[in-house]
């Protein structure tokens, strides 16, 4: 297997180390001094940067379920090479989000309460359950990669045998909580600015996470292609780009149509603190990348695709932060800007994520370059060595 390296980002290691150390210190401060002393959160603004980060992390990890669904449920097998990167991204993304959620809780020592104390009316309760279950599914989807590395084969077979229901379960869980993050805000029509509040929030959150999750994967394939041969053929990458463009277009149409139908024209067209944030998000994350991706030239050019995907991810970040922060501010009387400790904890955890990703990508068979036309064979081992989650029918349901 070809060794793949992260792009040469000069000084990446010292930067990451500094960020992680700063984050760790900030976390110590947060736990010893409490939320009040270390954050800019308040009774008027009880949720801030960290919640925005959670939205972001979960949204960017959405590729985990879309790609698994495409390859293993819809049998688009040619995308097999990106299944593992997608699962790894999702797995790391979810672990980080769970970590941030726990840091964010006023009573981190009670974090397990949602497991035993239920409130079926609470979106937050549903999300906790989905996060937990889906992280479990992801660890099952990830486990074979690890086990394979250490040549432990019997559990792999076992995991394969139950993979189909688990994959379906995972896709359903993702659909639910990706949209439920939007549902969190359904209950605050009186607080969230009309440019973001809509009964369609869950739908919009779901559509946009598909675009951002796919963009994230496209970015990864591009970054990890640089040294070796591209490990996803250009044609397939261009197809992903088409899927992204489609999701962007659907999102844009639904969002604008909904806003107009609920009388948001004035909010959109008068120059305010909010409308600037709104258009920044829409232009950077949706309109411009969509326009770019319309061109075949952009879809097949690594640089073009890279910029377009990066914009989708940035615009997505904007969108989630706007929903979580800007839309809830009362400009100019009541605004929120995260404290330095909030920022450091977020950056530190993000750096952990990047380090974990590049470390695992280097040491485990995540990005595998196709040698033949068939991505399935790169190790001279038995059938149990098949990559992740080969549908069970390969072994036992074949017509005789």
């Amino acid at each position: 297997m070809r060794a793949l390296k992260l792009p040469r980002l000069i000084g990446w290691r010292p930067i990451a180390t500094t960020l992680i150390l700063a984050g760790a210190l900030a976390a110590v401060a947060r736990f010893t001094l409490g939320l009040g002393a270390t954050t800019n959160l308040s009774d008027e603004f009880p949720w801030g940067l960290w919640i925005g980060f959670d939205f972001l992390g979960i949204g960017l990890a959405a590729s985990g379920f879309t790609i698994v669904a495409a390859v293993h449920l819809f049998h688009a097998e040619e995308y097999e090479p990106i299944v593992r990167p997608a699962i790894l991204t999702a797995f790391i993304g979810y672990l980080l989000v769970v970590l941030v959620l726990i840091i964010d809780l006023g009573r981190p020592d009670h974090f397990w309460h949602p497991l035993v104390m239920w409130n079926p009316h609470s979106v937050m309760c549903e999300i906790s359950w989905c996060l937990m279950l889906y992280t479990t599914v992801l660890s099952l989807e990830f486990a074979p990669i690890l086990l394979e590395k250490f040549h432990i084969h019997s559990p792999i077979k076992w995991i394969h045998a139950v993979s189909l229901p688990f994959m379906i379960f995972g896709v359903l869980l993702s659909t639910l909580h990706q949209s439920s993050f939007g549902s969190l805000y359904l209950i605050v029509p009186n607080r969230l600015h009309a440019l973001w509040y809509t009964p369609l929030l869950p739908v919009l959150f779901f559509i946009s996470c598909i675009a951002s999750g796919l963009s994230m994967i496209v970015l990864e394939t591009l970054i990890f292609s640089r040294n070796g041969r591209p490990f996803l053929p250009t044609r397939l990458r261009a197809n992903l780009a088409k899927a992204i463009a489609l999701a962007l277009a659907v999102y844009f149409v639904v969002r604008i149509q909904d806003l107009l139908s609920r009388g948001g024209f004035r909010d959109m067209t008068t120059l305010t603190y909010y409308s600037v944030a709104f258009w920044a998000e829409l232009l950077i994350g949706f309109v411009i990348p969509f326009a770019m991706l319309l061109f075949e030239k952009v879809r097949i050019s690594p640089t073009g695709l890279y910029s377009a995907s990066l914009m989708v991810v940035l615009g997505f970040a904007f969108n989630r932060m706007n929903t979580a922060i800007t839309g809830l501010e009362h400009y100019p009387s009541q605004t929120y800007f995260p404290s330095i400790i909030e920022i450091f904890i977020m950056l530190g955890i993000t750096a952990c994520g990047f380090c974990a990703f590049s470390f695992i990508a280097e040491h485990l068979p995540i990005f595998r370059i196709e040698e033949s036309g068939n991505s399935h064979h790169q190790e001279a081992l038995s059938g149990a060595q098949e990559p992740l989650f080969v549908s069970p029918e390969c072994e036992d349901l074949r017509p005789t």
């Binding site: 939320l35 104390m117 239920w118 549908s391 029918e393």
Partner: protein, 257 residues
């Protein structure tokens, strides 16, 4: 079942003496002072709007938003009316602060083991057949405790008897689905900092419309995904089969999924 309790707060009778706040603080062991806004040390607060005084507190909603959003059920609504809080359950997600339409719950931000604080509607006193400390302290009857049904009738009666004195609305009768705190006012409520955009539908309904789709998403989605898997899988199989046997053979046996 215990009848639903409520308090009728007639702003035209309030003289701004702040006895309610003092009584509340004594009852709850809070440091005495006259506060204008709800806080960790003021479960009820008295604010002045021109020549009117408005006391605020938890509304003890009939369908409380805070109870519906709390993931662990740390907030509960009792039949008699009080919305109570159990700090032993609370995980500190602060969704209740975010969601309460009246901005009531306050958080112990400076603590490392923080809790929510808000008016409790004196459940211990109610259980003993007493009135809440604030109502007992009120010298003018501006805060009156009683059965909700009876208080509503009384409020309607007061409006009818002196239509010039009150705006014809009982705030809390239907707002966000009805609350335990009922207000009468001589001037439109909007002028006194009441949110009039909240509507009559309980806020939790907004979430329920989304949450109620969960079972559908799971069942329909599950069947759909399994179906797509089966079809695409079968198509691939058939293709493989057909290409391996050049001539068209009959379909393979139905071996179910």
């Amino acid at each position: 079942m215990t009848p639903k309790k409520a308090m009728l707060i007639d702003l035209s009778l309030c003289v701004g003496c702040n006895a309610c706040q003092a009584g509340c603080k004594e009852e709850n062991g809070l440091p005495p002072s006259d506060e204008k806004y709800l806080s960790l040390t003021a479960y009820t607060a008295l604010n002045k709007y021109n020549d009117l005084y408005v006391r605020r507190m938890c509304q003890h909603c009939d369908v409380p938003t805070c109870v519906s959003v709390c993931p662990v059920g740390a907030l509960t609504k009792s039949g008699a009316g009080p919305v109570s809080y159990d700090g032993e359950k609370c995980i500190g997600c602060r969704y209740c602060l975010q969601a309460c339409p009246f901005h009531v719950p306050k958080y112990e931000w400076s603590s490392t083991k923080p809790s929510i604080r808000k008016c409790k509607f004196c459940p211990n006193r109610i259980a003993k057949g007493l009135q809440p400390a604030c109502a007992e302290a009120c010298p003018t009857g501006a805060t009156k405790f009683g059965d909700r049904d009876e208080l509503l009738i009384e409020a309607a009666g007061r409006i009818k008897a002196e239509p010039g004195k009150y705006v014809s609305r009982i705030y809390g009768e239907q707002d966000v689905g009805g609350t335990s705190m009922l207000y009468l006012s001589p001037v439109p409520f909007e002028q006194l900092g009441f949110d009039s955009r909240l509507g009559k539908i309980p806020m939790p309904m907004l979430t329920m419309s989304a949450l109620s789709k969960v079972p559908n998403v799971v069942s329909v989605g599950g069947v759909l995904l399994a179906g797509i898997w089966w079809i695409t899988n079968r198509r691939a199989e058939v293709q493989a089969h057909e290409s391996s046997l050049k001539k068209g053979k009959t379909q393979p046996q139905e071996d179910d999924e």
